[in-house]
């Protein structure tokens, strides 16, 4: 299965996700929405597995490949979180964002060669990157929750902070695992666990922003709750810079972490 086959999996998966995202709001749409969402995830998973087998290496190296995982994880995490918390918007928003990332891969496919440079040939490679992408999906879902809440004039949605805080704790757990595995890998590959390479600096910034959110939430009070909610979209912008934006920064020219 090569990148040329992608469109035959991408279109049905997107159709399923968008179908699930809309039928969920119908009176008796819950069951078909569940099945459509799962079907979309399954179609997408089949492509990833086939693509992995074709490449003979994990498809985690290029930006396009990480976006593939992001669509997969975000739709899966969105579905599981929807089953747990029963917010229909959680399902539809994760379906929309997963679709956007599929569209990005269709519009701007990147070269997907089989070669993997020696520094990337490590047992840390797969857990490091999947941990990060999984965490981005969790933190993305939490950000959606925060934005919905910030635009809700009638006060807090019931249980909204339980949902957001849990997503942040789980997402932060994966974020730190990704970062710390990266540090151990850097020690084995480059001789030092932390070199303040631009990608590392931005990973530090992102992690610090989410630790700040977690600590702000330890105190009760409307002021700190509002501040905490505003912190999440800001932290997510920092996360996006870390993930997608670093290579465009003048500070990152000459970084060994840019791909």
């Amino acid at each position: 299965m090569t990148w040329n086959n992608f469109i035959w999996f991408a279109l049905p998966a997107m159709a399923c996700w968008c179908g699930a995202g809309t039928t969920i709001y119908h009176k008796r749409g819950s069951t078909p929405a569940n099945w459509l969402m799962l079907l979309g995830i399954a179609i997408f998973a089949v492509f990833i597995i086939g693509f992995w087998m074709h490449l003979e290496r994990p498809p985690l190296r290029t930006m396009g490949e990480t976006r593939l995982w992001y669509s997969f994880f975000l739709s899966s995490v969105g579905y599981v979180a929807y089953r747990r918390w029963r917010y229909p918007w959680l399902l539809s928003f994760s379906a929309v964002v997963a679709t956007v990332f599929v569209l990005m891969n269709l519009m701007k496919p990147e070269i997907h060669s089989k070669s993997l440079m020696p520094a990337l040939q490590s047992n840390w490679f797969v857990p490091h990157v999947t941990s990060y992408i999984l965490s981005y999906a969790m933190l993305g879902a939490a950000t959606i929750g925060a934005i919905i809440q910030l635009n809700r004039p009638q006060g807090y949605a019931p249980g909204i902070f339980d949902l957001i805080d849990n997503l942040i704790y789980i997402g932060y757990g994966f974020l730190m695992l990704g970062l710390l595995m990266g540090a151990l890998w850097a020690k084995a590959a480059w001789g030092h666990y932390w070199s303040w390479d631009p990608k590392e600096t931005w990973a530090f910034i992102t992690a610090t922003a989410y630790v700040a959110y977690i600590h702000i939430r330890l105190r009760k009070g409307t002021a700190s709750e509002t501040f905490a909610l505003w912190m999440l979209p800001v932290a997510f912008v920092l996360l996006i810079i870390t993930w997608l934006g670093v290579k465009y920064l003048p500070a990152a020219q000459g970084s060994i972490h840019v791909y």
Binding site: T2, H54, I111, S113, K114, S115, M117, P118, A119, Q121, S122, D162, D165, N166, I168, Y169, I170, Y172, G173, F174, M176, L177, L180, M181, A183, L184, W185, A188, A189, W190, G191, H192, Y193, W194, W196, P198, T201, W202, F204, I205, T208, A209, V211, A212, H215, I216, R217, L218, R219, L238, I241, L249, P250, A251, Q253
Partner: protein, 416 residues
């Protein structure tokens, strides 16, 4: 809690306003120091100063946390409002650092407030130090009131403290050198990052260097200027026997035979010979609406000529230089006390000898597989153990967080 609303600024017990003011004040003092005395000299922290500072810091944290865990100053220093203020301080300094190209050179700076040497600038060093003091005191306070159910807290907070303390203070003791060894020779001299030669208490013998490459890519170039077609969006075709057909700039390319280690025959064909001077070669058919060409293409190397396939008067099919798949050095390490250690050194697979770690670093890029030397990076880091301990504790703490999520707490005490 209601008393907080009534109290005035700077009136105890302190909370957010004072924590933010103190953090901002310390950053301001840092900037003034940076402007007047210049950047912080990390090598002042070299052994034994860093060990003494680590001892004093631990003593201060333990004294405050154990002797006066409920004193309102100690609670403020190690409390949530201080933690959030310090995190915001680190966040702002981090963002400035993220947008400012950093100077690799230890002494050079083009920015008066030191934003281009952030980790060696006074504001960063001061906030980092205060974070260590605050976090260390919190750890001591929570340890004196030890509870098993706080295991995730201990793993995350003590782990982070160990990591920040040992990596910050240990930086001055770290030594990194590069050693170049020719095949068959033994070397003990190394270069530091300013290209000064030093002699080390260990020597490395290079018995053999070998590398493997990926199948290269094909491209069509304009013979006059060497540019890859199409000019605006150069295309490459990765040689892969699973997908033998592709399109390059209007030409269909068909792979007929690929030899990974090929040597040229006298009639300009190729045969397989596994030896260091061999190079990948491919037999291809290339055709468009009017022309069909067939022939061998080879990127060549120091011992073999390049072979291209002429398509028409202006264009040729060429092979790119292959990317390395792996390279490895068969070495023996000798130490001063007469120990020997044989190892096969590869990227991602370093070897440790005492407090030294040896890494495969590079080779002669122009010669590739024919490289007559291999280079190694030698790293000495006596503070590595507490750093690794901190990383492992935080990894376990992260697993706890993603497993448990956030427990809704109803406790009234103010220990967090």
């Amino acid at each position: 809690m209601t008393s907080i609303n009534k109290r005035k600024f700077w009136q105890s017990p302190w909370g957010y306003p004072e924590s933010i003011a103190v953090t901002a004040g310390i950053i301001a003092i840092g900037i003034i120091l940076q402007l007047t005395v210049g950047s912080f000299n990390f090598y002042l922290l070299a052994f034994p100063s860093n060990l003494i500072i680590a001892g004093l810091l631990t003593a201060a944290c333990v004294t405050m946390g154990f002797k006066a865990p409920n004193n309102h100053w100690v609670r403020w220093l190690s409390g949530v409002s201080m933690a959030v203020s310090l995190l915001m301080g680190l966040l702002i300094l981090g963002i400035i650092m993220g947008f400012t190209p950093q100077q690799a050179d230890e002494t050079a700076t083009n920015s008066k407030p030191g934003f281009d040497i952030m980790t060696r600038s006074w504001p960063f060093v001061l906030i980092y130090s205060l974070t260590l003091l605050s976090l260390g005191t919190l750890n001591a306070r929570r340890l004196i009131a030890f509870r098993w159910r706080d295991y995730a807290f201990y793993l995350n907070h003590i782990g982070l403290w160990l990591l920040l303390m040992a990596s910050g203070l240990g930086y001055a003791d770290m030594e990194r050198y590069v050693m170049y060894v020719r095949e068959g020779e033994t070397e003990w001299r190394v270069y530091d990052d300013e290209n000064n030669i030093r002699e080390l208490p260990l020597a490395i013998e290079l018995k053999d260097f070998d590398m493997d490459v990926y199948p290269p890519r094909l491209a069509i170039i304009d013979r006059h200027n060497g540019q890859v077609l199409p000019f605006e969006n150069p295309q490459f075709f990765a040689i892969d026997t699973d997908t033998p057909t592709g399109v390059l700039a209007g030409w269909t390319i068909q792979l007929e035979q690929y030899i990974h280690q090929a040597v040229r025959n006298s009639d300009s064909t190729y045969r397989e010979v596994p030896m260091p001077g061999a190079s990948p070669a491919v037999l291809v058919r290339a055709y468009n609406d009017s022309l069909l060409r067939k022939g061998w293409v080879c990127a060549g190397n120091q011992t073999q000529m390049v072979m291209t396939l002429s398509l028409d008067d202006h264009h040729s099919l060429v092979m790119t230089t292959a990317e390395p798949r792996s390279f490895e050095s068969d070495i023996v390490v000798y130490t001063k006390d007469g120990k020997q250690k044989s190892a096969l050194l590869r990227v991602n697979h370093p070897v440790s000898v005492g407090a030294w770690t040896i890494y495969q670093y590079g080779y002669d890029n122009n010669a590739g597989r024919l490289s007559a030397f291999s280079s190694f990076e030698l790293v000495y880091d006596p503070w590595l153990m507490p750093v690794i301990a901190g990383i492992i504790m935080m990894m376990l703490g992260s697993v706890c967080m993603l497993w448990i999520g956030r427990k809704v707490k109803t406790t009234k005490h103010d220990l967090e």
